[in-house]
Symmetry: C2
């Protein structure tokens, strides 16, 4: 499935979240990632993210899932931070 | 159509972008918005955003479009910043 992941965490946890998400998805903007992922790998990412995040500090991560990349059009306005390069 | 909008702009332009996007979509996380929108309203939002943004400063806005909200599942891990409330 194709996902877009966005997170909003306290500054001191940003680097850890960035490194974690980079191992699973393409980094396309500040705290925004996208890419193809299996259900199992997504579950793994969420479990690891929960260990980093602190809900009391209002850290949050949102996953938008689309069963098919074709059902999700992407448009970039302004600067294109990072063209999607295949990390596999 | 259903969209998710994320922006990454210089700190001094964040407030303006926040106010702009709030007039069109639901604010669900730091610089993340979602909601139902017409093609015309989305075009209007993008034009106004371009006027605020500075591409040389690497400001960017990304629009993920799904023809149907049902094709896009959303899952929140951690703190739910703002339950989607209908602004109409």
């Amino acid at each position: 499935m194709y996902v877009v992941v966005v997170y909003d965490v306290d500054q001191k946890r940003c680097t850890k979240m960035l490194k974690l998400c980079r191992g699973y998805l393409h980094h396309i903007q500040n705290s925004v990632f996208e890419g193809e992922i299996t259900e199992a790998r997504l579950e793994e990412l969420k479990i690891k993210a929960k260990k980093i995040m602190n809900e009391e500090d209002k850290d949050s991560l949102i996953v938008f899932k689309s069963r098919n990349e074709k059902w999700l059009d992407k448009e970039i306005v302004g600067f294109d931070k990072r063209p999607v390069d295949n990390i596999l």
